[in-house]
Each structure stands twice: as structure tokens, then as C-alpha cells.
Symmetry: C2
Subunit: 228 residues, 2 copies
DNA sequence: TAAAAAAGTTAGCTATGACTAACAAATTAA
DNA sequence: TTAATTTGTTAGTCATAGCTAACTTTTTTA
């Protein structure tokens, strides 16, 4: 009821904040997200975040006490999930139909996710035959907002000798994604950890008959499923 | 040069004004377009238009003297044509691939036309195999901004006994487009003017073995090619 | 041609959503 | 447990882009 009415009144900025909060709180499973952390994630000033949070509280998308941590209401979560759905469906469309590479899609999808049309996104979903994963391996919520929240195991969390399969990658940086492709890694690649150097936590890994040494920062952005 | 740099700095509003000016000046071929006319077309106040025109003049997209009529520079036209290209390609995509009807596409295309990505629109064009007309029969500019400007002959400009073919329709009103479909008219329909009533300029027309009486306002929004 | 109407302009207001600078509260560390 | 650091808040500014009301210029018409 109020639901439907509000959704067309929401601004692009409000959507961006709600999505960011959802990704920190729920997808990254961070228990205490504060004002400044959200500000840093969105690359805006703490003051901007503070005033937006006030607005989102007044619209009942966010709950928090003064100086307390931030929480999303069910309504807030619902808005965020729908944005994530749109973002990932568009990424999938761009990669699978419009010859985009996985490092090119994020920026355009950031724009496309704000297009307001229920029909558009549901038809796009149907057109692609209801994909469940985007080009980076992330799960795509269905039309009811349901999707599996895979526990995020980073490559960096594994030990020497462990073997795993590449499940998804952080899509935040174009340079990172290009680098992943360049060295020959792809979704589902089987990776073995040959050695971890204590000094800088860099890792020597083996995959597809190749070997590479990657930094800790790199390994933090690669999500894997350990093979038991 | 300056071209490319500016195009990413342009706002949605600036784009809307340039497109509106182009449609009035070039597509509708109106020789003198003034501030208030543009304001009315865009459904904003004359004051808003006035200040936006100042901005567009400073960016050299528009030329006009104080109290004089408005003109577009080549740069201004180029921006407008690209918007029209994007708008019509998206409309075509929505109709041909996502099950939208021709009365549903305009509103969504108004949003999609502001997405900034050269690659997106050119790939979409390729994906659809370079269509030349949108669902309303309007010409789609190619990647170089070239397209045929069909002289707009309205159904209302014809005489009793004339025969013509439906070329395109004004896509501004959802109700109008629904009405056109409902009575059974479609692009390329052959229409014969049976009678024009002087009193209110309403027309009795025949097409596809059907007859209808349509108002002057209706006939003003239907564009045709007379059959000699 | 002078008055009325229309068209165009300006000033000043509003809301959104950024920002910086200054300050307050909470947390961490000495 | 006090001091330092981090985190959060507030006040005040800026740009964009809309608005109304008042005014000026241009055009029309009586």
C-alpha cells in the first residue's frame, strides 16, 4: 500500500544509500555499520551521510539511535534487494547480449539500476530466461526478492595446500577485473594455494596449468568455494 | 575534442531542453520558437526555461539574442539527435524484445535515453540489426546522427476523397496511442478520407474494411504519406 | 498610434544533496 | 581513569533546477 506509492518517490541518492547499507550489513555481514563507514563506502562526506540517514529514518527505511549503529527496516531491505536485482540483471544482459566484458558492466549497470519500471526488469529477466548469477558470479534475486546469500569465503582466508573453486569476484574495480581475466582466471576456475609468504601475505597459486603470485589485496577480492 | 569532454558533464535537464528545442525547431520545423513556447512544451515555467537557456547559451549549445528567438548550435543539435537516437532505439527494444506495447514505451524510454554509454547504445543497435524506424514509425538516427527527416503530413491536412498510408504517430499521449490501436489502425494502414465535417473538422475515415469518425485533434497526431 | 495582450526577464524563494569547519560523544589507549 | 583518537553531529555554504510574483519589452489590435 504505502509500499507502492513510496517506491516512485524515492530518489536516486536515497536508493544508493540503501543499497550500500544493504551490501555492508547483509551481503558483507558486518554487524556494526556506522555513519562514517557508510560515508567512506559511498565516497561522500560523513556530514552528507548523516543528513541522508535522517531522511531515510523519517521515511522508515532505516532505524538507528543517535550515535548508534545503522539498521535497515524490512522496507529498506526490500528496496535494496530490488536495486541489486536490477543491477545484476542488467550486468548479465550487457555481458551476454551486448558484448560487454565483465570489467565494463558495473558503471553502466549503476545507471540502469535506477530506471523505474517494474515491467522492464521483469521482462528483461524473462527474456534472459531467469538467470541466477551475474557475470561476476553473484546471485541474482528473483522477482520476489529471494536469493541465496552465499557465505563469502575470500581466497585470502585459505591455507597453503587448500584447493578451491572461484565463485565470484568483487566488481568494484575495473582494473582488478581486467587483471583477473588477463592472468587467465575465470568463474569456476580451480585454484590451488601453493605457498603463502608470511612477510606480505602474498600467495603463489596454481590454476589451469598456470602459476601466479597474487597480493593479499587481490586475494581479498576473490571469493571461492573450498573443495573439501 | 571539447565535444567529448562536455558530453559527460551535461545534466539530464540540459539534455531535456536541448531535445525539446530540436523537436520543435527541426522535427516540427517551427521557424520561431520562443522561451514561453519551449516552457509550455516542457511543462515548466517560463522562468525556469529562461534560466536554463542562459546556461545552454553559456555552454554554446544555444544561440539567441535577448527577447529573440531560440536557435541550436551544431553542438546542441548533435546532443539532441543522440538523445532521439537513444530514445527510439530503446523504444524499439522494449517493443520487439520485451513485450511492451507502443503506448507503454515512451515513459520508460524517457528514462533510458539519459543513460550515458556510447557502447551501450551502439551495441543495442547492432543487437537489433540496425533498425531504421521505432514502434511509432519515427526514423531512428544512425550512429553518425544521420536520419531522414520525413516531412510531417498530418491526416488532418488532407481533403475528402484523399487516400494515404499511416506513417507514424505522435507518441506523447498514452491514451491517444491506445485509442489508435483499439480502433484497429496500425503503421502502414491505408486510410481513405470519406468525409470532413466543416462544423468541427471531424473526419469520417475508412481503413481495413472499417469506418471511424475521428476528431480534428486525433487527425493532428496521425502522420501519413498521401497516395497519389 | 496608443492601449492591451503576449512574451520574455529578473528577483527572490524552495528542495535536494553535496561540501567544510567546528563541535560533541564514544571508544581506545596510555 | 584520564587523555587521545575515532566517530558522529550540527551549522552554514554551494550548485542545480524548479517555482511565483513583479516587471520590461515586444507584438498585436482596436
Amino acid at each position: 500500500m504505502t509500499n507502492k506509492l513510496n517506491l516512485n518517490n524515492i530518489t536516486k541518492s536515497e536508493e544508493d544509500y540503501l543499497k550500500a547499507l544493504f551490501q555492508l550489513l547483509i551481503e558483507d555481514d558486518i554487524s556494526k555499520v556506522g555513519n562514517n563507514q557508510l560515508a567512506e563506502y559511498l565516497k561522500v562526506s560523513p556530514a552528507s551521510t548523516n543528513s541522508m540517514i535522517k531522511k531515510l529514518k523519517s521515511k522508515q527505511y532505516v532505524i538507528s539511535e543517535k550515535y548508534g549503529k545503522l539498521e535497515l527496516t524490512e522496507e529498506g531491505k526490500w528496496i535494496a534487494v530490488r536495486l541489486i536485482r536490477k543491477h545484476r540483471l542488467w550486468e548479465t544482459f550487457l555481458c551476454n547480449y551486448l558484448n560487454f566484458t565483465w570489467d565494463e558492466v558495473h558503471e553502466v549497470a549503476e545507471q540502469l539500476e535506477h530506471i523505474k519500471s517494474q515491467k522492464l526488469i521483469n521482462e528483461l529477466d524473462r527474456f534472459m530466461d531467469y538467470p541466477t548469477r551475474d557475470p561476476h558470479g553473484e546471485m541474482i534475486p528473483n522477482a520476489d526478492g529471494e536469493y541465496a546469500l552465499l557465505p563469502k569465503v575470500t581466497l585470502s582466508s585459505l591455507q597453503e595446500g587448500d584447493v578451491c573453486q572461484l565463485v565470484s569476484v568483487n566488481d568494484g574495480s575495473v582494473n582488478f577485473l581486467r587483471y583477473v581475466s588477463e592472468i587467465g582466471l575465470a568463474l569456476s576456475s580451480e585454484i590451488k594455494i601453493i605457498e603463502i609468504r608470511e612477510f606480505d601475505k602474498s600467495m603463489k597459486i596454481a590454476f589451469n596449468e598456470a602459476q601466479e603470485t597474487v597480493t593479499r589485496k587481490f586475494a581479498d577480492n576473490v571469493f571461492v568455494k573450498p573443495i573439501t
